[in-house]
């Protein structure tokens, strides 16, 4: 592992980052910028309001609900109730890949549906138009399900999307219509939307089909949205190892899968932030334990597979898992061997999402690269510090209005897959059953952890640390690259991927190699500028010596 002795003094950095803010803002931000110590993990202020006027990476509740969680299910007609923009912006930009069973099978991923709310709808109410839209969608497509997403004005004017949905569902009989009160202003970030989406999916979809699928080792994949085909790679590995995927929440998924999810015997959670609610609720109602896994990183993939095999406790499964790992890892190793001499010792920063900023550190580590600073865009304290802090988290005003479903064991379907003792035994073996250790445990001492990093802070961090690569999203990409530092998008993968599993890891290594060693960065200065400056390029200067 990379020594971090050359990192700048993190407390000076923190001071630098906040010195330009108005006092109140500085005080607030100070709590979200934390110097890591993996031994005694400090508290990170997270899931709090962004200060108005701060240029933030964050989006809104609607984005988390419709964009993240519901968007990837291909056979739901997702109608956005509101002005046109909200629907337009969520149209295909998240690149959730999906592969229908046949060329005729339903797939609405490529479509964008909206009620295109007009001023008169805002003034006189939009329910009538909404019901008209639902009717038209039904008449045109006869889908299995129609979901309605509320945007900001909807809540304010009092349109009842749930009543409208129910009315239409009852009218159609053969089409599941349900709504989400995911107005953009709810909560403080996309995170509120995840929770609302979890609730809705759990209430309206999970448990509607009790048919039990074939397969000895049945699980659901939670929090994998198939960006860049990530889910395809995980599906490939599951298939090779003999694990049966019942439902995916929600990459490459269908209504049918999700309705049947409660028949699985394990929930594995990838993106803890967006989907942990679902794991909890399914455990309570159906008795299915959940376990945190990670398929980002070749080693992590191997580890996660072993954990799953351990969970099922089947020797044949364990043997198959080992066989697959033995077959896949040499290919991964070969790529690492080729590339690592060119990446070793380089540094990365990750500021993205609610899970990726954590797990992509594994991939960098496999390339010999150190993550010097990281943070989430919309996570909570548990994602940083681990779930053990959950009881201590204070719910603030912005989050307390988000419904917590009261879930109880299903009188008929509750069936604990493992006894308490079995679960305890598995935990002892290192399985993160119903648990998550968080990001900070894995990061080096004195690295920086910054929640909801602002534009200003990220520019300063780059100026100070001069990382070799910065991971964030599209809004940050060209800002950072204008500074001569390549930015890897970890929402969209820069339209590459998959990055999960064994093949994904190889893709990622190659992409990072290309980016950090790209000759274009040497072209930035014109020769007459070099002559003026006396140095070849300003970029070659480096604060962190390797």
């Amino acid at each position: 592992m990379q020594s971090y002795k050359n990192l700048p003094d993190p407390s000076l950095v923190r001071e630098d980052l906040i010195q330009k803010y108005p006092t109140k803002v500085a005080k607030k931000r100070n709590k979200s910028i934390v110097i890591n110590d993996p031994e005694t993990i400090p508290e990170v202020q997270a899931n709090v309001r962004t200060v108005p006027g701060i240029i933030t990476q964050r989006g809104c509740c609607y984005a988390g609900c419709k964009g993240v969680v519901l968007g990837p299910t291909r056979d739901i007609v997702n109608i956005v109730h509101g002005p046109i923009g909200c629907s337009f912006y969520a149209w295909l930009t998240r690149r959730n890949q999906t592969r229908p069973e046949t060329p005729e099978a339903e797939n609405y991923i490529t479509y964008c549906f909206s009620t295109d709310m007009q001023e008169e709808n805002v003034v006189f109410g939009g329910e009538k138009k909404l019901k008209q839209a639902i009717q038209e969608a039904y008449d045109l497509f006869h889908p299995k399900a129609i979901a309605i997403f509320s945007t900001c004005p909807v809540g304010l004017i009092g349109d009842d999307v749930h009543a409208a949905s129910k009315e239409m569902r009852d009218k159609f009989g053969d089409c599941n219509v349900f709504g989400f009160s995911c107005e953009g202003y709810r909560g403080v970030s996309q995170s509120a939307g995840h929770h609302i989406a979890n609730n809705g999916v759990f209430k309206h979809m999970v448990g509607r089909n009790n048919a039990v699928k074939e397969g000895k080792f049945k699980l659901n994949l939670l929090g994998e949205y198939n960006i860049g085909g990530d889910a395809f790679e995980i599906e490939r590995i599951f298939e090779r190892t003999g694990i049966t995927l019942v439902a995916s929440f929600s990459g490459n998924s269908t209504v049918g899968q999700i309705e049947n999810a409660h028949t699985a015997d394990l929930n594995v959670i990838l993106c803890h932030r967006s989907i942990n609610y679902m794991g909890e609720m399914m455990e309570t109602k159906y008795g299915i334990p959940w376990m945190k896994v990670n398929f980002v990183g070749a080693e992590s993939t191997a580890k996660s597979l072993r954990k799953i095999a351990e969970y099922f406790g089947d020797e044949e499964l364990k043997a198959r898992v080992e066989a697959v790992i033995a077959e896949e890892m040499p290919k991964v190793k070969a790529v690492i061997d080729e590339i690592r001499p060119r990446t070793e010792g380089k540094t990365a920063m990750l500021f993205v999402g609610g899970s990726r900023a954590h797990h992509y550190q594994d991939l960098f580590s496999e390339l010999g690269m150190t993550t010097v600073a990281a943070g989430y865009e919309f996570a909570h304290r548990d994602d940083y510090e681990g779930r053990h802090v959950l009881p201590g988290i204070k719910i603030d005003a912005d989050s307390k209005n988000i419904e917590e479903l009261k879930v109880t064991a299903d009188p008929e379907l509750y069936n604990p897959r493992k006894s308490e003792a079995e679960l305890e035994a598995l935990k002892e073996k290192g399985l993160e059953i119903n648990g998550y250790e968080g990001m900070m445990k894995q990061m080096l001492k004195k690295t920086l952890v910054v929640d909801d990093v602002s534009h200003y802070e990220s520019e300063r961090l780059i100026e100070i640390y001069k990382p070799d690569i910065f991971c964030a999203g599209i809004k940050e990409k060209y800002v950072v690259q204008k500074m001569g530092v390549p930015l890897k998008q970890l929402h969209s993968y820069d339209y590459g991927g998959p990055y999960t599993g064994f093949e994904g890891a190889q893709n990622f290594y190659r992409d990072i190699d290309r980016m950090v060693n790209n000759p274009v960065w040497k072209l930035i200065k014109a020769p007459w500028q070099k002559a003026e400056n006396g140095s070849s390029t300003a970029l070659e200067a480096s604060y962190v010596t390797h």
Partner: protein, 459 residues
């Protein structure tokens, strides 16, 4: 098929928009505001709006797009957003130090009734606007009009809130840019320089959204119309508004406030509209058109004459924004092509009227704009009457692939190719670029589909 559920049969829809040919106002306001030097756009609403608009503009330009947000939460939505905006102003001037904050509203703040004029006034009164700094605003409710309306409103806001009429007329012409690319604005300036006319162009996103790679991120790039220039528009001889939908409101505002007479022109796309622009500008300024411009025009005509056989009669489907569609349709007709299906999600009677005038030369063409004029309908029309070419923004690629139609990316947003921000499509040079692209698309298709014995070397 990527759009496998699109039916050939067209059914009237009243409630459901599918695959829109527009987006909402605030992004237009944000784009326009980036065309003022030293300006930070500010979205007064929920965080998501700002994030979506910045993302889309960033994808279109592959450039930094800086903007702030009032970060509404539920509290602000209930109690009003004034506190958020005032806090934002503080934060922004402290941290990002712009010369100007350009605030636009959203459906959220409009629905709760926030009054931007009142709040910005309060900010000024409360001394939150530092000496020499400015705040302007535009009301851009997402449930009215489209992104184009938002652009128009913000540009009108610039005119209205900056222009000052002194006693001294300035020997300059205001050119109010309709929604066009930085490359187009650069070309408008080049043409004006060649004509020898002093102009104030606003907004002007050149050198902002086409900034060079320098190794340094310039938060406020060197481009953009300056405050001084904007102020001086009130003393100009005349305004030329390039676009009846996106530019005219600013011209009207200037006339109202400062009595600057104006003329509204189609955006100078293609030969006829550029002719009118050059004529209007040269007449307004009392200059003669230099030979170099006439020669550029002649080169465009020359290409058309040389290649007319490949253009003749080709059927085209288009979608996009009014001020582009109007001259583009006219240009296609000048090229002896056949625009047959046209949609725009943007409403507007001026737009409809102008299109109807132009489409007199294209009997039978389908045209629809405003509510219900979406890409689903366009696609259905295409299924009923196939076309040789599709022109529109990136979302057209799904139709193009399903129906195997040559496709030219034009308009907003273009998310999957570069070029639009660097090479103009206005003016005669822009016309040459458009013709090159059209010919390229049509001839590539001819080459692809030719029988071996009909595969041509010379074309």
């Amino acid at each position: 098929m990527l759009l496998r559920h699109t039916t050939k049969e067209v059914k009237e829809r009243e409630g459901l928009t599918i695959n829109p040919a527009k987006t909402c106002q605030p992004i237009g306001a944000m784009y326009a505001a980036l065309g003022i030097h030293g300006c930070l756009p500010h979205s007064h609403g929920s965080q998501g709006c700002c994030s979506y608009h910045r993302s889309t503009l960033t994808r279109h330009y592959k450039e930094p797009v800086m903007a702030a947000t009032s970060s509404f939460t539920e509290g602000a939505s209930v109690f009003g957003g004034q506190a958020n905006l005032l806090a934002a102003i503080d934060t922004i001037f402290s941290v990002y130090n712009p010369d100007i904050i350009a605030v636009h509203s959203t459906c959220l703040s409009e629905t709760i009734g926030d009054d931007l004029q009142q709040i910005t006034k309060k900010a000024k009164d409360d001394g939150k606007i530092p000496e020499g700094k400015h705040i302007i605003y535009a009301s851009t409710p997402s449930f009215v009009g489209s992104h184009v309306t938002g652009y128009a409103n913000m540009v009108a806001g610039m005119a209205d809130q900056f222009a000052v009429s002194t006693d001294e007329k300035k020997n300059q012409i205001n050119i109010i840019a309709g929604w066009m690319e930085p490359s187009d604005m650069r070309e408008i300036k080049r043409l004006s320089t060649e004509l020898g006319v002093k102009i104030v162009l606003f907004p002007d996103t050149s050198n902002v959204l086409d900034a060079p790679q320098t190794g340094k991120h310039e938060f406020y790039p060197k481009g953009g119309t300056t405050v001084e220039e904007l102020k001086s528009t009130g003393d100009s001889i005349r305004s030329l508004a390039l676009g009846c939908i996106s530019a005219e409101p600013a011209a009207i505002a200037l006339e109202k406030k400062c009595k600057v007479p104006f003329e509204t022109l189609d955006m100078p796309i293609g030969i006829s509209a550029t002719d009118r622009f050059i004529m209007a500008l040269s007449q307004a300024a009392g200059v003669t058109v230099p030979d170099d411009i006439t020669a550029d025009r002649g080169r465009l005509v020359d290409i058309i004459a040389d290649m007319e056989q490949y253009l003749f009669g080709k059927k085209v489907a288009l979608f996009g924004d009014p001020d582009q569609l109007i001259p583009l349709t006219e240009f296609l007709l000048d090229l002896n092509m056949k625009p047959v299906h046209i949609v725009s999600g943007t409403p507007g009677q001026r737009f409809e009227k102008r299109m109807k005038e132009i489409l007199q030369r294209a009997p039978g063409a389908n045209f629809k704009n405003g509510l219900g004029a979406d890409m689903f309908l366009l696609h259905q029309w295409i299924k009923n009457e196939p076309v040789d070419l599709l022109i529109g923004n990136t979302y057209g690629k799904y139709i193009a692939r399903d129906e195997d139609i040559p496709f030219i990316r034009y308009g907003f947003p273009i998310l999957d190719r570069i070029g639009h921000s660097y090479f103009p499509s206005v003016g005669y040079t822009g016309g040459m670029r458009l013709v090159e692209k059209i010919l390229g698309a049509l001839m590539d298709r001819q080459d692809r589909d030719a029988l071996e014995e009909k595969f041509e070397l010379v074309m």
